[in-house]
């Protein structure tokens, strides 16, 4: 038997017409009322999720596109961050899923496996198809094939991982040897405003030939190479181009270059092969040469 007090409020909760405090209290109480929770999940949520579709489609104002996009892009730029923590519990309230800002205070419709239109969503159709007895065998066969492919892929991925680890270990050993050499030095590279997410180090050997760089994390997926530049009196000279390799964070220079004559190092993301001159907007790290 459902709690009558809760049942009284379920419409306001489902339609999003509650304050944030009321909504949280209701959601917590709903977890302890399986009967009402089931009703919410099977009757209220699926229908309310579909209600936005009842709005008749209207034509967009011609100039709105530019105004909206311009306003959005002038705002604070997005940053890559871990996904916001999701509220726990068995009942996903619409609010938890649809909220963009924690301060927003009302539930809203969202999709869920139970609530989308089963007949019109291609994925739901697939599920329904394999639920039928005549297709069950075929479905199982397909699942078996998918499982085999997945296992093969996982084995291959693991082999690649092992190879990368060995490569990384080898590079790390070389760097450790350099550091152990009392004549070896390094230049700390600090992030510029273009790349707030990491830092790096350039290592050079006793003859001041740069041999490695290390990064605190992988570069953006869009970057294929990074390029080290030496700066002297405002002039940039390309010192080395490093080929990016997935998640690896240390790279060996293909053609070591002498650093003696520079007073600052910079690192840029580049197209394959590097560039003739650095573009200021792609300067991600920089650091002064040390007199040692």
């Amino acid at each position: 038997m459902s709690n009558p007090e809760l049942a009284d409020k379920i419409a306001d909760y489902a339609f999003g017409n509650m304050s944030e405090r009321e909504r949280e209290a209701f959601a917590a109480a709903l977890k302890h009322d399986p009967e009402l929770a089931a009703e919410y999940a099977t009757v209220w949520q699926p229908v309310i999720e579909a209600l936005p579709l009842a709005a008749p489609l209207v034509q967009l104002p011609a100039a709105m596109r530019q105004r909206v996009l311009q306003a959005a892009l002038q705002g604070e730029p997005a940053t890559v961050m871990p996904r916001a923590a999701q509220a726990g519990g068995a009942i996903a309230t619409p609010m938890q899923a649809a909220t963009l800002q924690p301060a927003m205070s009302r539930p809203a419709p969202v999709g869920s496996p139970q609530t989308d239109f089963p007949a019109t969503n291609p994925w739901r159709n697939l599920v329904a198809l394999f639920s039928r007895p005549q297709f069950a065998l075929g479905g199982m066969a397909l699942m078996l094939i998918i499982s085999l492919i997945s296992v093969t892929w996982a084995v291959s991925l693991n082999a690649q991982h092992e190879s990368d680890m060995a490569h990384l270990d080898q590079q790390q050993a070389a760097i450790n040897a350099l550091i152990a050499d009392r004549n070896a030095h390094m230049v700390a590279l600090q992030p510029t405003a273009n790349w707030k997410a990491g830092y790096g180090t350039a290592f050079y050997d006793p003859n001041q030939n740069v041999v490695y760089i290390t990064l605190s994390g992988p570069p953006p997926q869009t970057a294929m190479d990074c390029q080290l530049w030496g700066m002297k009196n405002g002039q940039a000279t390309s010192l080395a181009v490093f080929t990016m390799n997935g998640w690896l964070v240390s790279y060996m220079a293909h053609a070591p270059t002498n650093l003696k004559s520079y007073d600052k190092l910079m690192l840029t993301w580049e197209k394959p092969g590097g560039a003739a001159q650095p573009d200021p907007k792609w300067i991600m790290l920089e650091g002064p040469m040390q007199n040692n």
């Binding site: 579909a50 869009t222 001159q277």
Partner: protein, 211 residues
Amino acid sequence: MGNDPDWPKQMESVDYQSLNDQQLMMRLAERDADALTAIYDRYARPIYSLAIKIMGKPERAEEVVQEVFIKLWRKPYSYDAQRGAFINWVLGVTHNQAIDELQRERNHERTISHSLPSDGDEEQSIDVADPGPDPAEQAWYSVRLDIMRVALTQLPAPQREVIELAYFSGLTQVEIAARLAEPLGTIKTRTRLGLQKLKVILEEEGLRSER
């Protein structure tokens, strides 16, 4: 690279129209403005349509759309694909934004003048959404639109009225009872019956289109 200000977009030759919603949102998280444009081109129309249904006036609807896209740009990681389709989520965000605006206005003016959507609204319906880059997805969305619109019109008027007041006008059950001068229990019963009936209609329509 110094002579190529649009790198890396040009370098990659990304076909944004071919990317799915989740891929676009991932690019948004990488501050890719073209991804935002692609999302706008794909979904601005249903978003704007919902906003105008709730807000009533085009200029206020546009403000809602603008807020939604500002939030998308600022916090793209708020979308979790595991929780459902992007279109449902972004329409939910739009609904939140629009209802918040309405309630702010009500708190300010203390008057409720929002008119009920009438049957004539359906005549405002023009056609299906512009053909998008993902025909299957667009077709699926168009079918859903049609089903939902038809389903709502099949409800008895009193039941449809309370559902529309609750969803499109953001009124609580108590407020609806006061507005319609009906007992609260009647409003709750109508709402519940309306929802149950809608569910049955939607399921039937769904099954019909499956065949």
